[in-house]
């Protein structure tokens, strides 16, 4: 294993585990500034995680092992997903591989666990959020796979390392299919990270919750897990955005710099999106994400119209 691979592995683990909470922190800070408020420090998520880690839990009645296991399953599936991500076009070859479709499966596992926990306590608000989350997932997964088809077209490979190697040539940036995929992926990012206009992460109104709904009953360390998981989902999606869609030829160190530089940019973009967009009606979300699918199909047509180079 080369030194570059070791660094990539370190970024995968340390970045995913330790840096991830900074992303929602920065988004909140930028959003507050855009709205003319001072806002909390970007380090606020860490303070919350520390506080939650020390607190005792809450045991809702009735519940079973499913409720107790759910936070661990959510976090566990995301931890495995973290080490599948290419960093600077590299991955140290963990035994879990780097396949993109497997990563989608792991995200589905996390969703399954948390929505099942909502059934276990049978609280109305949790189930409301769970049912919406699962409805959105139908469109999200379909569009995500279409995006994958488009980015895999030039290389014919669904390995994330191979994808990040060939999708980042500058030549591919002149390809409409690539732009279509990037647009659709942007919509998927909004839905998967639970940002406006799909979901409002700041809401305190249970009736409007989507991703937050099933978290209502949790407290203490279990809630800390789930809050970290929300941050890790941001990390996964934004790292993928950089690795798959930003042209970045050059040595590994330069690519790391591009990654480090792009993450704040994505955060600002998310904050701008949150500030300018109102939350949309729930039933429009599948259509909103599905529009990405239609764009992907147009992208596919353009690929063949262009001779499929």
């Amino acid at each position: 294993m080369s030194a570059a691979d070791t660094v990539a592995g370190l970024v995968q683990v340390v970045g995913g585990v330790a840096v991830a909470p900074l992303i929602p922190g920065v988004v909140q800070r930028v959003k507050a500034r855009l709205q003319g408020r001072p806002g909390p420090s970007p380090w606020q998520p860490y303070r919350e995680l520390r506080r939650l880690w020390r607190k005792s839990g809450v045991a809702p009645m009735p519940r079973t092992i499913v409720y107790e296991l759910a936070p661990a399953v959510v976090v566990g599936s995301l931890v495995i997903a973290l080490v599948m991500l290419p960093i600077g076009g590299r991955s140290p070859g963990w035994p879990v591989g780097n396949d993109a479709v497997a990563l989608v499966g792991l995200l589905a596992l996390g969703r399954f666990a948390i929505t099942l926990a909502a059934w276990d306590t049978a609280g109305g608000f949790g189930l409301m959020g769970a049912s919406r989350d699962l409805t959105f997932a139908v469109a999200v997964e379909a569009v995500l796979l279409l995006v994958l088809v488009l980015v895999a077209l030039p290389g014919g490979n669904t390995d994330l390392v191979a994808l990040s190697a060939q999708a980042t040539r500058p030549a591919v940036w002149g390809e409409p299919a690539h732009w279509a995929a990037a647009f659709a992926f942007g919509l998927v990012v909004l839905a998967e990270t639970g940002r406006q206009p799909v979901d409002n992460p700041d809401t305190h109104l249970e009736l409007t919750m989507v991703h937050e709904g099933p978290l209502l009953e949790y407290a203490g360390r279990e809630l800390a897990y789930l809050q970290w998981a929300a941050a890790a989902r941001h990390w996964i999606m934004l790292v993928l955005a950089t690795e798959l869609f930003i042209p970045q030829p050059g040595p590994f160190a330069a690519r790391l710099a591009v990654l480090a530089g792009s993450l704040p940019v994505w955060c600002v973009l998310l904050a701008v999106c949150e500030t300018t967009q109102a939350k949309m009606r729930i039933l429009r979300v599948p259509l909103f994400v599905g529009a990405g699918g239609a764009v992907c199909l147009l992208g596919l047509a353009s690929w063949f119209a262009g001779g499929g180079s």
Binding site: G57, S77, W94, V101, A102, A122, S131, V149, N157, E217
Partner: protein, 647 residues
């Protein structure tokens, strides 16, 4: 005769003996044990042939003289059959106690197993078609023995009518093939004839497999049978229809043109999305599971379609991979669907009925059955690290590579099928979150459910065995995939091991994923548990949660129902009774009608009945009228002869 052939024949004889014993003597539990032993022998012989340790290969013949034999593909299906039949038969030893006509049902179950073996082992047309018909009729007989009500008889009639009308396709394709000697290896000539065979086979075998839009019988018939027969029907019988389809399209009628593969892709897409969408809105557990059989048949058909498309494109490597994906999903679906049907049978035996909104809280009351059922539900939802994920991953990769390798039209079809399968997987997760939530979790929703007790060891054991298979096949499918890939068209050199390593993918290290998930989740769980936790009720804005506030199946799926309103056309009726300005009663009724029934099947039956009414007028019953008909016919013939038409 080789050892494998003798073993298979001996096993079949044992099953037959078991069937006769059950019908003739009161020792039905012994008879079922004999059947289970016989089926295990059949399975072992099938495995021996599949893995190449033994040969019992008799080639297919176009003649009508009875012939039996087992080649590797048949061996695979015998293994699938035995893996389901043995646990189902053992389960039946305890489960059939409280069914009417126990002896008849155990005897007919054995005969049904025998018919399934016969379809797989038949090597000539007459035997194949004979066992094929038995395979259709025997489950109908079982249902009619168990259920006597009008409703059940109507559904059995629909089952027989639809499968027999569709079955014309099976007879037509098989007889044309045999008539031209194609079963014996003579290639079929003539594009039109070959297209006819392909279409007839797709209609005929597709009906029996329950592919949409030919599926209407499946959700009616499957829920009626006793659990062990339901498991065989959903787990194996509909797969044998796909076995027939594979024989015709991949061996006898090949190479088929591109449009056949694309047709299968379209049918598979419709079945998978349509099946799971209607499953979501079912309120009865066994009916819901039956719709999921349609979905999974769709996924298998998608794999087969992709394999044919790759073969047409000359991508032999991927053709073999897609074929292996279809076979792997066949095995996986058989395992988890049998598990789910047997589990549903256990719940029914304890609670009485399977209305989803009336169960609840069964995981704590029946930990073994409930736990195994949950594993099966996770597997069918296609979640890692269980077996459903491995085969859905392979199928998704196959479809995705259709999109990558094809010319524009094919690529578009591949991309649409990929997106559809991804949506299907998400919908299946939705559906089984609902099922686990309503059946196993939360508080019991009625007194019988609250008093539920775990079933006997004889009923738990088969469930736990099948759940173990789900885990095992999910952890190491890589040991099986290279063998399955050899059975299809094309060749591919795949490494055998803990990873499903396919070219053009990142590979699926199933074992590493499973171990990694268990270790990480276990560690995280330990780090969080055992801390002080204050008991509290679930949050409902400070209200106490009452049973009336419990979520229902319809409530949970409402966002989806609203979103798909234009397609599903749900009906709802709200009646409010007001007296003197005060609301006395609110009645709400909502339903998602099965549009295939109302828009396709009902008009067809109506016009058939109208046609029959017209024809009936000819039958006056009066002798003179019939003499008049004869006279008229004679005159017509004479005129035709005179005109020179009949010379």
């Amino acid at each position: 005769m080789s050892a494998a052939a003798i073993l298979c024949a001996a096993g079949a004889a044992l099953v037959g003996l078991g069937a006769v014993l059950a019908l003739a003597t009161p020792a039905w539990r012994l008879a079922l044990a004999l059947q289970a032993a016989g089926m295990s022998a059949v399975g072992v012989s099938g495995a021996a042939v599949l893995f190449g340790a033994a040969h019992a290969v008799v080639g297919f013949r176009s003649s009508f003289a009875p012939a039996f034999g087992v080649d590797r593909l048949s061996g695979f299906f015998l293994v699938v059959l035995a893996l389901i039949a043995v646990p189902a038969t053992i389960y039946a030893r305890d489960a059939l106690r409280d069914v009417r006509q126990t002896r008849a049902v155990s005897g007919l179950s054995g005969a049904f197993c025998l018919a399934l073996v016969g379809v797989v082992a038949a090597r000539d047309v007459a035997t194949f078609l004979g066992f094929w018909e038995l395979m259709t009729l025997l489950p109908a007989a079982v249902i009619l023995v168990v259920r006597h009500d009008e409703h059940a008889r109507r559904d059995v009639f629909a089952y027989l009518a639809i499968t027999h009308l569709g079955g014309i396709g099976v007879w037509a394709s098989m007889l044309i093939l045999a008539g031209h000697g194609a079963l014996g290896g003579v290639p079929l000539h003539g594009g039109g004839l070959r297209a006819l065979v392909a279409v007839a086979a797709i209609i005929g075998f597709g009906t029996k497999a329950g592919a949409m839009p030919l599926h209407s019988w499946l959700p009616r018939a499957h829920p009626l049978a006793p659990a062990n027969v339901s498991a065989l029907m959903s787990g194996v019988m509909i797969k044998l229809a796909l076995y027939g389809l594979i024989r015709v399209l991949f061996t006898w009628d090949r190479p088929v043109p591109l449009w056949v593969g694309l047709t299968l892709l379209a049918l598979g897409t419709l079945s998978s999305v349509g099946g799971v969408l209607y499953a979501l809105f079912q309120h009865e557990l066994k009916r819901l599971l039956a719709f999921h059989s349609i979905e999974n048949v769709g996924i298998i058909v998608l794999g087969l379609g992709a394999s044919l498309v790759f073969a047409s494109l000359g991508r032999w490597q991927w053709s073999a991979i897609a074929f292996a994906a279809a076979l792997l999903h066949t095995l996986n679906h058989a395992v988890f669907k049998a598990l789910l049907f047997l589990g549903a049978g256990s719940f029914a035996s304890v609670v009485g009925a399977l209305e989803l909104d009336r169960l609840g809280g069964l995981l704590r009351r029946m930990p073994w059955t409930g736990g195994a059922f949950a594993v099966g539900a996770m597997a069918i939802a296609g979640l890692p690290p269980l077996n459903g994920f491995a085969s859905e991953w392979m199928t998704l990769q196959s479809l995705l590579h259709v999109a990558l390798y094809g010319p524009f039209g094919v690529s578009l079809a591949g991309a649409l099928a990929t997106a559809a399968l991804a949506a299907t997987a998400a919908l299946a997760v939705f559906c089984f979150v609902k099922v686990i939530g309503l059946v196993l979790l939360g508080a019991p929703r009625r007194p019988e459910t609250a008093d539920a007790r775990e079933t006997s060891a004889g009923m738990r054991g088969p469930l736990v065995f099948l759940a173990g298979l789900c885990v095992l096949l999910g952890a190491v499918p890589g040991l099986l995939v290279p063998t399955l890939a050899q059975l299809g068209p094309g060749t591919v050199a795949l490494s055998r091991g803990a990873t499903v390593a396919l070219p053009g993918t990142g590979g699926l290290p199933t074992l590493a994923l499973a171990v990694g998930l268990v270790l990480v989740v276990g560690g995280l769980w330990r780090a969080a548990r055992g801390r002080r936790a204050a008991p509290s009720p679930a949050w409902a804005c400070g209200q106490v949660i009452e049973p009336a506030m419990a979520w229902t199946s319809a409530g949970f799926t409402k966002p989806l129902r609203l979103f798909f309103e234009a397609v599903l056309r749900p009906t709802r009726e709200l009646t409010v009774r007001v007296e003197r300005g005060v609301v006395q009663e609110v009645a709400y009724e909502a339903e998602v009608p099965h549009l295939f029934d109302t828009l396709i099947y009902e008009p067809i039956t109506h016009s058939a009945l109208r046609g029959a009414a017209v024809v009936r007028r000819l039958q006056s019953g009066s002798l003179r009228t019939y003499l008049l008909y004869l006279l008229g016919l004679l005159a017509l013939l004479l005129v035709l002869v005179q005109l020179g038409v009949l010379t």
